[in-house]
């Protein structure tokens, strides 16, 4: 059996993020202490502007903290070079964006294939993994379609397949239902829940209370600070 420490995938200690705009300091995050264990489904919620997307960007290595320590899978990431961060994003993190962010000029297949292409995976292995990922999200029948030929819900499913295809350590979802109607939103949330049940670690940002309860653990942010943390059946910790 794995010890609790070995099970920690993300560990943040005293993380701060300060933006400087025209000599004005904006404190987006203050003293964030956070641990996410492998296999957890964590939801980060809070009002608009509370810093949840900034936190997810730092967690996803799209941005760097101004202060504090961040360990991903036991490895400090503060001093990584740009290419090392790119490599980690490619191999260990799967992104799901609010606006789907599919490339309009690539087919469904090519969009899902993209992370594997940058990884240097062989063509045969790419094919097998892309088909498997599309089957998991129920989009295997749309491989030759372009994003513009799909509904919003279908596009987000493809985006989930793209996030899954490289077998990442963690899925980072930023308002994955934000651009969807309630029916499609729930379908995507069901999909994420299924993935979690099959062992995926998920960290999701949402401002929608209905969907934050899909997660087993909810972190509430306010003015850049964690103000509340609940686990499973609404128990504050």
């Amino acid at each position: 059996m794995m010890s609790p420490n070995n099970n920690v995938l993300i560990k943040m200690e005293g993380v701060k993020k300060v933006f400087l705009t025209d000599e004005v300091e904006t404190h987006a995050l203050e003293e964030i202490h956070l641990e996410i264990h492998k296999g957890q489904y964590v939801s980060i919620s809070g009002p608009s502007g509370c810093g949840k997307s900034t936190l997810l960007s730092i967690l996803g290595l799209l941005d760097s903290p101004s202060e504090g320590n961040y360990l991903l899978n036991g490895q400090p990431v503060a001093n990584l070079t740009s290419s090392e961060r790119t490599r980690i994003r490619n191999r260990e993190i799967g992104f799901i964006f609010q606006a789907f962010n599919l490339i309009g000029d690539l087919t469904v297949y090519e969009n899902v294939e993209l992370p594997l292409t940058y990884r240097g995976t062989s063509s045969a292995e790419r094919k097998q993994k892309v088909e498997h990922a599309l089957q998991r999200v129920g989009m295997a029948h749309r491989v030759r379609h372009y994003p513009s030929q799909l509904s919003g819900g279908q596009q987000q499913r493809v985006a989930v397949a793209r996030a899954l295809v490289g077998d990442p350590l963690i899925l980072m979802a930023d308002e994955p239902t934000g651009n969807l109607d309630s029916k499609n939103g729930e379908a995507v949330m069901d999909l994420l829940r299924d993935l979690h049940r099959n062992g995926a670690t998920i960290c999701m940002v949402t401002h929608d209370e209905r969907y934050s309860h899909f997660a087993e653990r909810t972190i509430r942010l306010f003015d850049g600070r964690i103000v509340e943390e609940t686990k499973e059946a609404g128990v504050a910790i």
């Binding site: 941005d63 790119t86 992104f95 962010n101 309009g104 000029d105 292409t117 940058y118 490289g166």
Partner: protein
């Protein structure tokens, strides 16, 4: 390989989805590459290509040297042939005019009177018959003639029984003994050749009128040949001090020996000018790609967020600009083929060596390919570099909107570069035009077009746009003036009564460019002021 194919496939798809952009960029590059390929064909054929003869490095011109190269006296030629130890063979010739009469129709033709073995020595093949033999260089036996293939076709109707046919030249009968193979000799000014047969009294050292060419023995260097021939000249001068005292010999490579320094310089200047045109085309396309890159900002950033390294993204952008350049290059080569036909017609006769074979060949196509790849890389570098300046997080959140001072800085830089290149290029053209005007006293007009594009705004913004545009134009003007200084000095030898820094030419070009820049700022800005801001915001 599969990544490369993916990049190429995506690039072609992107180009196909933007036919307007693709057409403009491809045509711009095609013009630049086409002009370069055409002019390089001339430069290569005239200056760089090896002579179309076997062992061309052995072929040399041998001149009398009297404080400058001079033609040769028959006596010197005779002594040189006998006393040298460095030549396999030496031949002499003189130009002449003959009247060829066929069926009573006379025609004056340029001819060459030459010592036997001229064609064999050079390795110029005959399609029929033979070169002159030694005894045909004896007086009384010289009534034989060799025709160029062109003359044989045009005046003798490709007569298959031409050998042995008697023709009337200068009212005397000559027998045709050979017809040269088609090709390079057809470009000779001379169309027929007769042997040079000198009587003993004509072989003197006083009159210099022969042109002499020789083929060096294998392994003999130019230096050795000059040393040996000057020893021979000293001995000849000791024997004939009255005529030969102070005369030496100058042995020079045949290649480009008849091409004037001015012609060589002009050709390289022309090459430089079309090089500027290509550079200007690249800057234009780079600017277009930058604008399009801004539209695709989110896609690029998304790729990075999914794990594309800067190198992979760079390769993607470069492969797109290379795809553009390759299409432009293919079109450019076709264009060069057409341009060459025009150039060959327009080139003044005998302004370049007759050996020059001006056509699209493997070296020219290799040059064209190199120019294409260079153009592709140049065009792609700016947008590829642009992507490395974008902030991943902000871009993914903002939805791909444009922004950032560095991008604008890059585009401003490109506009300045375009202006400077245009001024340098047009000022060079202006100098030549002014020079030509002075030379002919004919009032020549010229026009040029150059369009710059800038953004838009309200009436106040209109002034701002004009101010910004003028700032870029003036920056380009200053840089362009620097370029003009160097171009003017390089062209000094071909200018007539015009100084290298001719204020009239440069000033006229600068004014025209500035007016074009003002119009290019004013017109789109004025059009944009008519747009309803609320409608524009709703569209956003």
């Amino acid at each position: 390989m599969s990544k490369l194919w993916q990049n190429v496939r995506f690039s072609l798809r992107m180009l196909g989805k933007n036919p307007g952009f693709t057409a403009v960029a491809v045509l711009t590059l095609a013009l630049g590459i086409g002009a370069n390929t055409a002019i390089f064909s001339v430069v290569y054929g005239a200056l760089l290509a090896p002579l179309p003869m076997p062992h061309p490095e052995q072929l040399v011109m041998v001149w009398s040297d009297d404080a400058g190269r001079n033609v040769v006296s028959p006596g010197d030629f005779s002594d040189w042939k006998q006393q040298n130890s460095v030549f396999q063979k030496m031949v002499a010739w003189d130009e002449a005019t003959f009247s060829l009469s066929i069926d009573g129709h006379p025609q004056t033709l340029q001819a060459r009177v030459m010592s036997p073995g001229f064609f064999d020595m050079q390795g110029i093949p005959l399609s029929k018959g033979r070169d002159f033999v030694d005894e045909e260089g004896d007086p009384g036996k010289e009534h034989v003639v060799i025709l160029t293939n062109r003359l044989w076709r045009e005046r003798f109707g490709s007569d298959v029984a031409i050998l042995g046919r008697k023709v009337r030249l200068n009212a005397e009968t000559y027998v045709v003994v050979g017809v040269l193979a088609a090709g390079m000799p057809d470009r000779y000014e001379a169309q027929l050749f007769v042997p040079m047969a000198l009587r003993p009294d004509q072989i003197t050292h006083e009159r210099h009128w022969m042109t002499v060419m020789g083929r060096l023995k294998p392994g003999v260097t130019l230096q050795q040949a000059n040393a040996d021939m000057n020893n021979v000249a000293r001995r000849v001068a000791e024997t004939y001090p009255v005529s030969n005292k102070g005369w030496g010999v100058k042995v020079e490579p045949l290649k480009n020996d008849f091409t004037s320094r001015d012609t060589i310089k002009d050709l390289w200047l022309l090459m430089g000018a079309v090089g500027f045109v290509l550079l200007s085309a690249c800057v234009n396309v780079a600017n277009l790609l930058l604008v399009r890159g801004t539209v695709r900002k989110k896609e690029a950033v998304l790729r990075v967020s999914l794990g594309a390294t800067r190198g992979q993204l760079f390769a993607q952008f470069i492969s797109e600009s290379l795809a553009l350049a390759l299409i432009g290059g293919a079109l450019g080569v076709a264009l060069a083929g057409m341009l060459l036909r025009v150039i060959v017609v327009l080139l003044p006769e005998f302004s370049i060596p007759t050996e020059a074979d001006i056509r699209l060949n493997v070296p020219v196509l290799l040059f064209s390919m190199a120019a294409t790849i260079m153009a592709g890389v140049l065009c792609g570098c700016a947008p590829a570099w642009q992507t490395s300046q974008w902030n991943l997080n902000d871009t993914l959140k903002e939805g791909g909107r444009s922004g950032g001072a560095s991008r604008h800085g890059l585009r401003r830089g490109l506009v300045i570069a375009e202006f400077a290149l245009a001024l340098t290029l047009l000022a060079g053209a202006g100098l030549l035009i002014h020079s030509f005007w002075k030379l002919t006293r004919v009032d020549l007009g010229f026009r040029q077009e150059h369009v710059l594009t800038v953004g838009a705004g309200s009436r106040q913004v209109l002034l701002l746009v004009l101010k910004e545009g003028m700032l870029l134009a003036l920056s380009g003007l200053v840089l362009g003036l620097g370029g003009t200084y160097f171009v003017g000095h390089a062209m000094r030898s071909v200018l007539y009564q015009v100084s290298a820094i001719d204020f009239a030419s440069v000033g006229a070009v600068a004014v025209v460019l500035l007016v074009a820049a003002i119009l290019a700022c004013y017109l789109p800005a004025r059009r944009a002021t008519r747009i309803d801001p609320m409608a524009a915001l709703r569209c956003e």
